[in-house]
Amino acid sequence: MMNATQSPTTTTQVYRVYIKATPEAIWDAITKPEWTERYGYAARVDYDLRPGGAYRAYPGAEMAKYEGVPEVVVDGEVIEADPPRRLVQTWRMLMDPELQAEGFTRLTHEIEPGQGGVTKLTVIHDLENAPRLAALLAGDNEAEGAGGGWAWVLSGLKTVLETGSELDR
């Protein structure tokens, strides 16, 4: 049971990766479908990059082969878009009814240039009241074929930006 002094931020997941690429390249790799279909869940994203703008992720070619995959796999709304530094949005998984029922979560990407052409990318995902999604994104369902969550997504993102080729999936 949660006690009163325990802060609700314990449902937040934080991931960080250092990538040898420009902030602009990383921004594109997060917000453009030709990049997002090359790593992680390989969805094709569609961002209207302004406050209140719609966010949708469509299944990539691989995912679309399966029956029952919805037309839109993730939806949400852009809260803040400050290219190439900061992207804040809501994010709801639509892959199954239980995940959909957990509702919208809050996702932040922070991009900070560092030394030697290395850029720091931090993903902060507030997953309050979304325990099943939190487990999925922590990689708990990887053995069932549900992907390795954020750590796996960011590993793939780094690989595709640094080497130009995709991680084995």
Partner: protein, 113 residues
Amino acid sequence: MVTYSEDMTDDDRVFKALADPTRRFLLDRLFERDGRTLGELESELEMTRFGVMKHLRVLEDAGLVVARKSGREKLHYLNPVPIRLIHDRWIDKYAERRVSALADLKSELEQSS
């Protein structure tokens, strides 16, 4: 005092950080419940605050812990990405090439139908 030689790689920092039972204990605590303050972590160890801070610094330098401010507090989060990077590269290099997890799922579903 932990010192790093200049040519120490990211992977070296990860392995060095993991090669200590106190630091693994701290990571286990964060795995149980993420986003803890120094005070919370300190209360689980028979160690001075300074000692815990030193270990957290090594974990942060290795990228295994990310500290973020939340109001007046500094919260520590477990970051599994550096371990994932080592894992993914290791599998790429030495193991059988992984077939896609989705492809496995697909053949399983097709067989059962």
